[in-house]
């Protein structure tokens, strides 16, 4: 997972404010949280910065894969153990006699569900990391020993 410093090093570092941010460092942070797009940095698209731009595009591919909450699921690593689903506090609250007790989740649109042996993101609206009053919950990642679940900030 890229960190803001790595991204910053590849930006023009001129603090030109063309993108609307005060500094290139703040632009780097916002690239990570998907609040800004690389195209908004106009100087980067001049021939002078072409090599850096290509490197940045490579680095940022993983961010494009991330969902609104920063959740990234690597299906290759998942074994379908459902630790993430059963431990999720939202699932426990919404499905007390299903997922909370270890059974397959019975809620129609849960956050995560095991489909064909691997975990799939179904609907993120319920996630505690979603919306204005979000918290930095990492319960699903903490209980995945295969590292199939990660977050952008990791």
């Amino acid at each position: 997972m890229p960190n803001p410093m790595e991204i910053y090093k590849l930006l023009p570092k001129t603090n030109c404010r063309v993108c609307g941010e005060q500094t290139c460092m703040s632009f780097a942070f916002k690239l990570l949280t998907k609040e800004r797009k690389l195209e908004e940095c106009k100087p980067l698209y001049t021939p002078e910065y072409e090599v850096q731009r290509k490197k940045l595009e490579e680095i940022l591919v993983v961010i494009e894969k991330a969902t609104e909450t920063g959740l990234i699921v690597d299906e290759e690593k998942c074994v379908g153990c459902a630790n993430c689903i059963v431990s999720c506090p939202v699932h426990v609250e919404k499905d007390p006699y299903g997922a909370a007790m270890g059974k397959g989740i019975t809620v129609e649109d849960p956050i995560l569900r095991i489909e064909d042996g691997v975990v799939k993101i179904v609907k993120l609206d319920l996630c505690r990391r979603y919306g204005e009053n979000r918290t930095l919950c990492v319960v699903c990642r903490e209980n995945c020993p295969n590292d199939a679940i990660s977050f952008l900030e990791d």
Binding site: K103, D116, G117, E142
Partner: protein, 387 residues
């Protein structure tokens, strides 16, 4: 439906629009396995011809050995035992090198046990010994042991469970235990000694077991899951381990459950125990114990049902199976089927054939098939009729 991919026998699997919901990767692979085709000497034939050829081979066998049986329902296992008796054959399953010895300890009532539902509702300390359920039984922890909130343990893994792992390597389960409990890395016998010493208030080679003991004292229900690591670590002498469980029960209630194996291994062990007093590896001609690995050296015919010994057992067994008349009865393509004289495909237990299976904790589960197809029991009955 019920998944028969491992001994968890998960009963909450849903199949909708061609997708399998809630089953783990292992279960999906089992349920979607590539189907075998009936064949004689690797040439495709009709199932009737294959059955006829298999009947002839089994009838003419002088020294038959029957192996496998762990993935088929109890009803079919019963018929296979009848067939072995009728032919004075050797019968064995994977439990002779898997966790059969632990099932024997339980059937002979040498260690206290409980069901997985009791574990889910009551257990506090969950100790996996020589086992990595994350790989072998993916849903074991989320469905029955560490994660569920149920019965007396409503606060879940955060406060109401304590995970401990004894293993020789940093497994996935051990990683979780490091976060929310205790991980002990070492030799099984040393760890057992450390437990005894900790109970006397002394420090053994692994002083960290004292923390596990302390947690056990806090609760009235704790469980130890023994896996293959423990079975081989004890080198065939279980007396010290049985003694440890007895001693632990003086402090707090500690039950023992084998950590899991093939779907219906325990069912076979129980049937054999009732019939012969042995749980596996039995020779009906001499009434003695003989394992498949030994028996196959002298056998002229092998009937392999629901198993793939060429894939999982030493090469000399594969070489011997290729020499003798081998009949394979299995739903999916397997390496053993490639070297077999006759291959009879059957349906997957729980999908195309019903019956009962016994979960790793001894609970009998009724399968819920949703297709009609050739069952293992039908194939074995047809062989019995010929014999």
């Amino acid at each position: 439906m019920i998944c028969t991919g491992c001994s968890c026998l998960c009963d909450d699997i849903v199949i909708r629009d061609g997708k399998i919901f809630h089953a783990c990767r292992k279960g999906v692979k089992h349920l979607r396995a590539e189907k075998a085709t009936p064949s004689i000497n690797s040439k495709p034939v009709s199932i009737e011809e294959a059955l006829k050829a298999a009947g002839k081979i089994v009838k003419n066998a002088n020294n038959l050995v029957i192996f496998g049986l762990d993935t088929i329902p109890c009803e079919a296992q019963e018929k296979a035992i009848e067939l072995a008796e009728a032919k004075n054959a050797v019968i064995d399953d994977c439990s002779s090198f898997c966790l059969g010895d632990f099932v024997e300890l339980i059937l002979k009532k040498k260690v206290p046990t409980a069901t997985l539902d009791e574990v889910r509702d009551k257990a506090y300390v969950i100790l996996y010994w020589g086992s990595n359920p994350h790989q072998s039984l993916p849903r074991h922890m989320s469905r029955f042991t560490y994660y569920p909130r149920s019965g007396k343990r409503q606060r879940g893994y955060e406060e109401d469970r304590y995970l401990a792992v004894v293993d020789v390597r940093m497994s996935e389960t051990a990683k979780l235990a490091k976060k929310g409990g205790r991980f002990v890395m070492g030799n099984d016998l040393d760890v057992i000694d450390s437990f005894f010493k900790a109970m006397e208030g002394k420090a053994g080679k692994h002083p960290e077991v004292a923390a596990i003991l302390k947690e056990m004292q806090k609760a009235d229900f704790n469980v130890i899951f023994g896996g293959l690591g423990l079975r081989y670590g004890l080198k065939g002498d279980y007396s010290r381990f049985v003694e440890l469980i007895e001693k632990l029960n003086e402090i707090s209630r500690v039950v023992f459950i084998p950590a899991g194996f093939h779907a219906n291994m325990r069912g076979f062990n129980e049937l054999m125990f009732k019939k012969t007093g042995f749980i596996n590896a039995y020779d009906f001609s001499s009434g003695e114990r003989i394992t498949f690995g030994e028996a196959v050296k002298h056998a002229d015919t092998a009937l392999v049902i629901g198993s793939d010994p060429v894939k999982s057992l030493p090469p000399y067994i594969a070489a011997r199976l290729a020499e003798i008349n081998t009949v394979v009865v299995n739903p999916s393509q397997s390496l053993t089927a490639r070297i077999a004289k006759v291959v009879i495909p059957t349906s997957i237990s729980g999908v195309g054939q019903g019956g009962t299976m016994v979960r790793s904790d001894g609970l009998t589960v009724e399968l819920e098939p949703f297709e009609e197809s050739v069952s293992d029991a039908e194939v074995i009955i047809s062989l019995l009729e010929v014999v």
